[in-house]
Symmetry: C3
Subunit: 180 residues, 3 copies
């Protein structure tokens, strides 16, 4: 994967930040108190290699690229942005690959393709206009909370890249981390 990134952190304040615990008890994921640094930003473009048409779990690939940066944030947001209009990003089940296959089945059922399709935009192939529609259905952008240096997703949640083209190209994801 080709990557390039920047990491920017404001100079630490001379005094520790104010920490207020609104509701005890604390949990592992939501500590009732924590120390903190000054606001930080990190941004990186991750290029994913071409994937076959369908839904793909990419959490490990994303984490490999951002885990080190992520570990510097106690509280914040991770933003993922897919720079394409014929693929999509979504969060869904991270365990059974049948869920990803069934989701692809659904998308193909709901968006007409080929001779029966009513599309005017056909110059880039029969799978292109359906791909654009699927891209807007699931979207190209995700924001995930950061807590204690980790993506604070649910146990069964994973990040999916849904490739809607038959002959895919590499796909760029711009990841922006912001927090303290």
């Amino acid at each position: 994967m080709q990557t390039s990134s920047v990491f920017l952190a404001a100079k630490p304040f001379s005094a520790p930040v104010r920490v207020r615990s609104l509701n005890a008890p604390s949990t592992a994921k939501d500590p009732g108190s924590m120390s903190a640094a000054a606001p930080k930003w990190a941004q990186k473009t991750i290029t994913l290699p071409p994937q076959r048409r369908g839904c793909h779990l990419i959490t490990p690939k994303i984490m490999k690229e951002i885990a080190q940066d992520l570990s510097e944030f106690q509280c914040g947001l991770a933003h993922l942005f897919l720079q394409h209009t014929s693929a999509s990003l979504t969060i869904n089940e991270n365990y059974d690959s049948d869920v990803r296959d069934d989701t692809e089945t659904f998308l193909n059922r709901i968006v007409p393709e080929g001779r029966s399709a009513p599309w005017k935009h056909t110059i880039e192939g029969p799978d292109d206009m359906p791909a654009h529609i699927k891209s807007s259905m699931f979207g190209c952008t995700l924001t995930v909370p950061i807590t204690n240096g980790q993506l604070n997703m649910g146990t069964w949640q994973g990040i999916w890249l849904c490739e809607h083209r038959d002959n895919a190209t590499p796909r760029n994801v711009v990841v922006t981390l912001n927090g303290i």
Copy 2:
């Protein structure tokens, strides 16, 4: 509701922040000028009790949990993240409950369920795979602007939790506030 949260604020700068009014006139929601504090972050996990299958207006429940924190932000963003793959968050009409019922009707029409459904993933019940698909259709994450200590939504907008399972469990929403 079980909740735990953290609230972190950077130490105020010694000088007031720069305020630039680009376009007068100011409105109630977008003041042309305002005073400001240093960047702040607040994060809280809200556990919503089980809801019946369908779309539910949860703005009051969310506001009850975050209104106090929210009041400390003059400008910022509120991020909501549902930690589940068989329910969804969306923003839609906050007045007529028929809109929520009709949306549930639509989702059930568009995603096949039961004997006619083509799903491979059936081990968790006939409503599970449709629930995953509906979750990606509406998404599990929302970001709403904060202006003058309030969520800056339109007059008719409300936050919906769409429960896609027949026998629902409690649902966690991680709320992250960031701003000044």
Copy 3:
């Protein structure tokens, strides 16, 4: 267009921010290093004039309103929030208007309207309940990375306003910029 906005910047730190280059080589869009100012927030409400039902490319209109503010951010996030429940924002193809027409065709095919529709909520006209559903399908909120004073979208990506009502009204978009 009616607009009003605020721009807030924290007082610059006395020392330059820390810059860490994780992975060379740098590209035009992702420089391996950059200088930076203190965290800034800008927020503005843009009122778009009524559009006919269908999908509309609004990148130029949005950029006209935010380009100057945007140029002050080296790294950050731009958040767009549509304050309505019968229209939507999405990112899709910015070149061939047929893609926008075909997307409108898809939405009209998938969401029943008129006599065949099963909706209870009909008091605001036959196009109203379909509009609410389409709004949740595509969503009312977008977040786009900012890199070097620009929206860091892909070559073919543009911001669309999808108007789902027959007789549209002006539409408000709250734009919030945050970064360094």
